[in-house]
C-alpha cells in the first residue's frame, strides 16, 4: 500500500464541529492561570521532539566504528579517517561535523541507540518511512500513525465526535512544515503544521468562518466526505492559531540559531514550548540524506546542520529553563549499505543508530554496534526494533501503556531517567536571563521568568516610557536558579512599560504591553 492510498483510507471525520468554535478566540488572550497551571504541573508538560532525517541517513558515517578494519575496507573512499573521528570510546566515535554534540555526550545528555531497524527490512524510502511512522510490521502496514493512535487513546472523541482536548493550550502536536506527518494520522486531526506562527495566525484569521452554513449530514459521497475533511481542517486551524501565536509572542529564543532550515525549525519549537503550549509532540525534519552519489560533501553539510541545530536547541532549552521537559529523538527510515558504491555514494541499507538527547536521557551507548562481518547480505542486522524505542518513549516519558499503541509488547530500554528529571528543580541556568512576560499584552497582571547562574543581589523594577521608575518588583538577595516575578499593574494606564532586572554587571530589559 502506498502512502497516497492510505491517506485516502483515513476515516471520514463525521460530526466534527462545522461551525467554528468562537470561544477559542477569547482563549487566544490566554491568561496567567493557564501558564501557572502549566508550570505547576510539570509532569504534564513533557514534550517529545522528533527530528526526521529524510532519505536514509548513513549511520556508519554518523556513529563511526573507527577501530574496525572492515569499515575501512568497505569504504576506501568514504570512510572517515580514524584521526578525524571524534572518539567517544575506543571503538566508536562521531563524524567530525557532529562535534557540537560532544559536550552533550560528555554531560550524559546524549544517548546513542545502536543498530535500530526492524525484521525483513524494506529498502523503499516510502514504504520504510511509512513502516516507521505507522509502527508497522514490514509486511503489514497499519493505516494510522503511531502518535495518532496515542492521541486517539489519551483524548478519545466525545459523544459528538469532537476530540476531547480538555483545557489544552495548543494542539496535541505541531509539525514545522507545510504538511502533516503520517505519524500523527489518527481518527481526528491531531497536528497543526506551520512554518511561522504569526503568518499562520494571520492566514487563518483571514480565512475566518468560511463555513457558516448548516451542519452537514453524514457524508454520502466521496465529495461530501472530502468536504467534511476540509471543514474539520479549517476548524482545527481556527481553534489553535490563537494559542500558537500567543505562545510565540510570549517567549524569545535565548540564543541565536544558525541560519539554516533545521535550526530555524527548532528555534520555533523552543519558542512554542517556552511560550506555554501544552503540545506534547513536535516534529521537524531535514531532507537530502539519500546520498547515492558524491556523498562526502553532502553528508558533511547535513551532519553539520544537524549537530549545530541540536546543540543550539539544547542550549536554548537550558537557558529558558525548560530542558527537563524536553526529549529529542532523531531517526531516519533506514541506514545505508556497508560497502560504498562506484559513485562515491552509498545505496539503501537497513539498521542505523538513533540519537536521543535531553536532561532526562541516560547518556552513552545503548547496545552493541552491529557486526560488519555477520551481515544480512552486506547490510547491518538490527540490534533494536525501532518500536522498542517507541515503547520506551511511551512508557517512560508519557507514562502510557505502549501495547495499546503498538499492538504488542516491545521490550523497553533503560533510556529515560524520569526519576531525576522533571520533578527535580529546574536546571541551573548557565547564564543570566529574563524571559518575555506572559501574557502579553496583559491586564491586569503578567509574569516573567528569570534566572541567575549564581546567588546575587538583584533588583527588578518597572519603568514607564519616560524612564521613570513606577514599581519595584523584587529587591534583595536571590538564590541561583530560576524564579518567577509577577507585576500587578492595576491602577496603571494602558501603554508600553519596561521591566528591568539589574545586578552588578548585569542589565536585562523586557518591553511589556498593558492593554485595559
Amino acid at each position: 500500500m502506498k502512502r497516497r492510498e492510505f491517506i485516502q483510507c483515513m476515516l471520514p471525520v463525521a460530526g466534527f464541529p462545522l461551525v467554528f468554535p468562537m470561544w477559542s478566540v477569547a482563549k487566544t488572550l490566554g491568561g496567567p492561570s493557564e501558564l501557572q497551571r502549566f508550570l505547576d504541573t510539570p509532569e504534564d508538560g513533557r514534550v517529545l521532539v522528533l527530528i526526521q532525517l529524510s532519505g536514509g541517513n548513513d549511520g556508519l558515517n554518523t556513529v563511526i566504528p573507527y577501530s574496525d578494519d572492515l569499515y575501512y575496507n568497505a569504504r576506501p573512499n568514504l570512510a572517515v579517517p580514524a584521526s578525524q573521528v571524534i572518539g567517544l570510546n575506543d571503538d566508536l566515535g562521531l563524524h567530525p561535523q557532529l562535534a557540537p554534540l560532544r559536550p552533550l555526550f560528555d554531560e550524559g545528555r546524549l544517548a546513542i541507540v545502536q543498530g535500530v531497524g526492524y525484521p525483513n527490512p524494506n529498502r523503499s524510502h516510502f514504504k520504510s518511512t511509512d513502516i516507521w511512522l505507522t509502527a508497522s510490521d514490514s509486511d503489514d502496514l497499519q493505516d494510522t500513525g503511531w502518535l495518532g493512535r496515542y492521541f486517539d487513546l489519551i483524548a478519545p472523541p466525545d459523544a459528538e465526535g469532537n476530540p476531547d482536548n480538555g483545557d489544552s493550550f495548543g494542539p496535541p502536536a505541531i509539525q514545522i512544515g507545510l504538511t502533516s506527518s503520517l505519524a500523527l494520522l489518527g481518527k481526528n486531526p491531531k497536528g497543526i503544521s506551520l512554518t511561522d506562527p504569526l503568518a499562520f495566525y494571520n492566514l487563518v484569521n483571514r480565512q475566518g468562518d468560511s463555513h457558516s452554513g448548516e451542519p452537514t449530514p453524514e457524508p454520502q459521497t466521496p465529495a461530501e466526505r472530502e468536504l467534511a475533511f476540509l471543514r474539520s481542517t479549517a476548524a482545527a486551524a481556527f481553534e489553535y492559531a490563537g494559542d500558537i501565536r500567543t505562545a510565540a509572542d510570549n517567549s524569545t529564543n535565548s540564543v541565536e540559531y544558525p541560519d539554516e532550515s533545521l535550526a530555524q525549525q527548532l528555534a520555533i519549537v523552543a519558542k512554542l514550548i517556552a511560550g506555554g503550549l501544552t503540545t506534547r509532540v513536535y516534529i521537524v525534519s531535514i531532507k537530502g540524506f539519500d546520498t547515492h552519489a558524491s556523498q562526502v560533501n553532502r553528508h558533511e553539510t547535513l551532519l553539520q546542520a544537524l549537530g549545530n541545530a541540536i546543540a543550539t536547541f539544547q542550549q536554548d532549552l537550558d537557558n529558558l529553563g525548560i530542558a527537563d521537559r524536553v526529549v529529542g529523538m532523531v531517526f531516519s527510515e533506514f541506514g545505508r549499505r556497508i560497502r560504498e558504491n562506484a559513485s562515491l555514494g552509498t545505496d539503501h541499507g537497513t539498521a542505523a543508530p538513533m540519537i536521543f538527547f535531553g536532561n532526562a536521557v541516560k547518556g552513552g551507548f545503548h547496545g552493541p554496534h552491529p557486526s560488519l562481518s555477520d551481515t544480512l547480505g552486506g547490510d547491518l542486522k538490527h540490534i533494536h526494533d525501532f518500536r522498542q524505542l517507541y515503547a520506551t518513549v511511551l512508557e517512560q516519558w508519557f507514562s502510557f501503556d505502549s501495547q495499546q499503541v503498538l499492538g504488542a509488547a516491545f521490550p523497553t530500554l533503560s533510556l529515560l531517567d524520569t526519576t531525576t528529571s522533571v520533578k527535580d528543580a529546574p536546571a541551573m541556568p548557565s547564564e543570566w536571563f529574563l524571559s518575555q512576560n506572559f501574557p502579553n499584552p496583559f491586564n491586569p497582571s503578567t509574569s516573567l521568568r528569570y534566572g541567575l547562574p549564581e546567588s546575587s543581589e538583584i533588583d527588578i523594577a518597572v519603568y514607564n516610557m519616560l524612564g521613570r521608575q513606577i514599581a519595584t518588583l523584587f529587591r534583595g538577595r536571590q538564590s541561583a536558579g530560576q524564579h518567577t516575578v509577577t507585576w500587578d499593574a492595576s491602577g496603571h494606564a494602558s501603554g508600553v512599560y519596561l521591566i528591568q532586572l539589574r545586578s552588578p554587571g548585569v542589565k536585562l530589559t523586557r518591553t511589556v504591553q498593558l492593554v485595559k
Binding site: 502506498k2 502512502r3 497516497r4 491517506i7 485516502q8 483515513m10 529524510s54 529498502r123 523503499s124 524510502h125 516510502f126 514504504k127 507545510l178 504538511t179 502533516s180 486531526p189 497543526i192 503544521s193 506551520l194 512554518t195 499562520f200 492566514l203 487563518v204 483571514r206 480565512q207 475566518g208 468560511s210 463555513h211 457558516s212 452554513g213 448548516e214 452537514t216 449530514p217 454520502q220 459521497t221 466521496p222 465529495a223 461530501e224 472530502e226 468536504l227 475533511f229 476540509l230 471543514r231 481542517t233 479549517a234 482545527a236 486551524a237 489553535y240 492559531a241 531532507k287 547515492h292 552519489a293 558504491n341 562506484a342 559513485s343 555514494g345 545505496d347 539503501h348
Partner: protein
C-alpha cells in the same frame, strides 16, 4: 449571451436536499454540468462561453478534440546550446548559474502559459500527471536544456505509447542525472534508477525481488550524457554485456529488453491504469474498472489514448460518486481560478509561484514518488493559504510576498458579473454557484453569499448598476472562492 441552463442548479439542489437518493447515472445526460466536469478534469475548467460551446457538441466528438495532440516549436533559442562546463572559470560558472536560473523561470512560465491556453488541453495537462510519475527535480538536474528536453519527451509521449515512453524516459539526460543512471556501470552498478523503475514507474512494489532490481540495474548500465548536443548514448565500455536473469527470464538483456519484460507483466498495466484512474476519475479506484482498463491497455499494445477515451466516454466518469471527489492540486486551483474568470492574459510567473507556495512547483516535486495528492495537499496552513489565494485573486493581491514581481492575478470582476446577463442578485448567486463550484452548497451558505452581494440593498432595487455594487460583487465572489467546496473538483 443567454443564461446558462438552470437544470444544473435543480440537479445540485436536488442532490443536496435528498442526498440519500439514487445516484445520478449520467447515461442520458450530456449538458453543461457534464461538460463542466469533463473540462475541469481534463483541463483547467472553462469560461461560461466555452462551457456552452462544448455542451452543444456531441460528447464523443468533444473527447476526440481533447485527445488531439499538438507539438509546439522550440520556444527558446538556448535549448540547443550545448552544456559543457569543463574548464569553466569560477566567473563563468557563476554567470551560467544566473542565466540558468532565468531560463528555468522562463521555461516554467511558458509551461503555465500553455496549460492555460484553452478548453481542449488534455495533452498538456497529462504532462503534469507524467511529470509527477516519471519524477525529476530541478534542484538535482539543474541544467535548463535538460529540463526542456525532458518536458518535450513528456509531451511527445503523454498521449502516445507507454512502452516507447519508458524507453525514451530512462535515456533522458535529466533522468540519467536524477536517479544516477549515468553512474551505473558494469562491475559497479548503481541501483537507484532500477529500483524506482520497478517500484514507482511501472510495476509497483511487491511484484519483484531485490535480485530483480540488481539484475535490471546491470542491464541499464553504460548510459552517458553527450555534452556536444545534450543527448545521451550507450558507452559499451561501461555496459555490462553478460547474461542477466530478470523476472524469471534469462538472456543478454539490454535496458530496452528489461522494459519489454516489464510490459509483459499484468502488474504493469494494472499499476498504470490504477494511477490514471485515481488521477482522472476518483482517488479511490474501482478495481473492476481498473482491471477492464488494464486489459484494454495491454490489448492495444500499451497505447495511452484508448484508455483515456474509454474513461471519458464512460458513464461512470460522470457519476455523482466521482464528481467532486478530488481535492484540487495547487496548479488546478490556480489555473481554474484564472480560467473560470476568463483571465487569460496573465502574470504567469505569479501563477507559477502561487502554485509553488501552495505546495506544487513544476520541476520540483517533493521526492521521487511525486506529489502525494488529495489530502496530502491539505493542512491547516495550506488550506488557509488556498483560501487567501482565492480572496486575493478577486480583491487584488498576492500570496507570495517575497521578490515581488509582476501584477498578480488580474480579474475583471464586473465584466465577469455582467457576462451572466442578469441583474437579479439571487439569480447571479445561483449561476455563480453553478459555474464556480463542483458540488452544491446549502441554503444558509447561499443566503450568506446573497447577503454579501446585497449588503443592505433591497433585492428589488439591486442591480449591477447599483451604487457601490463592485465591492459587493467582490465580497460575494471572494467568499465563493473561500468556500471549502471550491477546493473540490
Amino acid at each position: 449571451m443567454k443564461n446558462p441552463s438552470t437544470e444544473n442548479i435543480a440537479y445540485l439542489r436536488g442532490r443536496r436536499k435528498d442526498s440519500g437518493a439514487k445516484p445520478h447515472t449520467g447515461i442520458d445526460t450530456w449538458g453543461p454540468a457534464q461538460a463542466r466536469h469533463l473540462l475541469r478534469r481534463t483541463g483547467f475548467s472553462a469560461t461560461v462561453q466555452e462551457v456552452e460551446t462544448v455542451a452543444a457538441l456531441p460528447r464523443d466528438q468533444v473527447v476526440e478534440l481533447l485527445l488531439t495532440e499538438e507539438f509546439p516549436d522550440k520556444p527558446f533559442a538556448w535549448i540547443d546550446e550545448p552544456y559543457n562546463p569543463r574548464g569553466w572559470t569560477r566567473e563563468q560558472r557563476q554567470q551560467w548559474q544566473a542565466t540558468n536560473r532565468e531560463r528555468l523561470r522562463e521555461l516554467r512560465d511558458w509551461w503555465f502559459r500553455r496549460l492555460l491556453r484553452g478548453p481542449y488541453n488534455l495533452q498538456e495537462k497529462m504532462l503534469v500527471f507524467w511529470h509527477g510519475h516519471f519524477v525529476i527535480e530541478q534542484s538535482n538536474v539543474k541544467v535548463a536544456q535538460y529540463m526542456y528536453n525532458y518536458q518535450a519527451m513528456l509531451r511527445r509521449n503523454a498521449l502516445g505509447n507507454f512502452g516507447t515512453f519508458v524507453k525514451e524516459m530512462y535515456k533522458e539526460p535529466a533522468m540519467l542525472i536524477y536517479l544516477n543512471g549515468r553512474e551505473n556501470t558494469a562491475g559497479n552498478p548503481n541501483e537507484n534508477f532500477a529500483r524506482e523503475l520497478l517500484e514507482l514507474f511501472t510495476m509497483g512494489i511487491g511484484n519483484y525481488t531485490e535480485a530483480d532490481i540488481k539484475e535490471a540495474a546491470r542491464a541499464l548500465t553504460g548510459w552517458r550524457i553527450r555534452r556536444e548536443d545534450n543527448s545521451s548514448y550507450l558507452d559499451l565500455r561501461r555496459y555490462d554485456a553478460d547474461q542477466k536473469t530478470f523476472l524469471g527470464k534469462s538472456g543478454y538483456f539490454t535496458g530496452d529488453h528489461i522494459i519489454d519484460i516489464i510490459l509483459e507483466q499484468d502488474a504493469t498495466a494494472l499499476f498504470i491504469c490504477r494511477k490514471i484512474y485515481s488521477w482522472l476519475v476518483n482517488p479511490e479506484p474501482d478495481e473492476a474498472r481498473v482491471s477492464e482498463l488494464a486489459t484494454l491497455f495491454r490489448s492495444s499494445g500499451y497505447e495511452i489514448k484508448p484508455v483515456l477515451r474509454s474513461i471519458l466516454n464512460s458513464d461512470y466518469f460522470y457519476e455523482t460518486n466521482n464528481v467532486g471527489a478530488i481535492i484540487k492540486p495547487p496548479i488546478q486551483l490556480v489555473l481554474d481560478t484564472a480560467r473560470l474568470f476568463d483571465a487569460t492574459d496573465q502574470d504567469f510567473n505569479y501563477l507559477s509561484r502561487a502554485s509553488a507556495v501552495l505546495g506544487q512547483e513544476l520541476f520540483s516535486p517533493p521526492n521521487v514518488a511525486g506529489w502525494p495528492g488529495q489530502r496530502g495537499w491539505i493542512s491547516p496552513l495550506l488550506l488557509a493559504t488556498r483560501s487567501a489565494f482565492g480572496e486575493l485573486a478577486i480583491k487584488g493581491g498576492r500570496i507570495d510576498r517575497k521578490n515581488y514581481r509582476g501584477t498578480g492575478l488580474s480579474i475583471d470582476t464586473m465584466q465577469f458579473a455582467r457576462s451572466f446577463g442578469t441583474d437579479s442578485a439571487r439569480e447571479l448567486i445561483d449561476l455563480w454557484e453553478q459555474h464556480l463550484l463542483t458540488i452544491g452548497i446549502d441554503d444558509v451558505t447561499r443566503e450568506n453569499l446573497l447577503n454579501l452581494l446585497l449588503e443592505g440593498a433591497e433585492e428589488g432595487d439591486w442591480s449591477l448598476n447599483y451604487p457601490g455594487v463592485e465591492d459587493r460583487v467582490k465580497n460575494s465572489l471572494a467568499q465563493f472562492l473561500r468556500l471549502p467546496e471550491f477546493q473540490l473538483m
